[in-house]
Symmetry: C2
Subunit: 157 residues, 2 copies
């Protein structure tokens, strides 16, 4: 329980975990986000399974995520081809992701992922933009939450 | 200087101040953001000068802003008519907005507002999406920064 914030324990999202932008090139986009806006670059990471490369830059308790498709077969690549660079999704941190998904489904929210799955930064699930006013919303479970163990994910130190 | 975070003092954006979504109806959208995602509603505010109504919901050190056009003459209303509901802009907090704008202009970033102006929550300026990978970026000055006094804005207690 030590890593839960008070608000997370009460079932209220505890922070914006990240805001994700689709970009043509992470390298080129760092010119804006790292060099001009001076957000500290934390990670650049290939995710071969998703055929994307991602970067995280820090801003307070949140991050900006840059997502660059590495081939043209994925949803993110089609997004880039059809809409161009821009906002992709916002990710909110919750205390108990499985419980949250159950509750949202009962409330009639359309889920892309009906159960937590392994994400780069923890257990995640996406909600459908049709249920979220056109916004793709991701939920991530706070470190120490029950889905970390269920998915055999080890919080990084 | 008391309200400056360490990072703000060093000229690094200190937090995501808010993420703004354009909505048809704040009342309807509270069904998702307040009732289903359980973000605490902080303010609902008419801004007649901008012909919008806005709501702020809290999440950690950040907010989600909902923006509802109140007539069909504004840029936000045209955005809603052409693209539908969805993400509108992300706002980063900086320590010294005028200095930041000067530096960004020198770096070649296209500014919508070349100087700080009065926003609902403090001195603000927008950067053009053409310079920001398709993302509309707003900057807001942290309470206690120099533009508050220059614009005769009083930080709220």
């Amino acid at each position: 329980m030590g890593s839960y914030s008070t608000s997370a324990r009460l079932g209220v999202p505890s922070r914006i975990h990240h805001v994700a932008m689709v970009v043509q090139s992470i390298e080129a986009s760092l010119g804006l986000y790292r060099d001009m806006l001076r957000l500290p670059l934390e990670t650049v990471l290939d995710i071969p399974a998703d055929r994307v490369r991602i970067a995280f830059l820090g801003v307070g308790e949140s991050k900006v995520e840059l997502v660059e498709p590495t081939d043209d077969t994925t949803g993110v690549a089609r997004f880039l081809a059809s809409k161009g660079e821009g906002f992709h999704h916002v990710c909110l941190e919750v205390a108990d992701l499985a419980e949250e998904l159950t509750r949202l489904a009962i409330d009639g929210v359309e889920l892309i992922d009906s159960a937590p799955r392994r994400g780069a930064e923890g257990p995640v699930a996406f909600l459908h933009p049709r249920s979220c006013g056109g916004v793709l919303v991701e939920l991530i479970e706070a470190p120490g939450g029950p889905s970390w163990a269920a998915l055999k994910m080890a919080p990084r130190g």
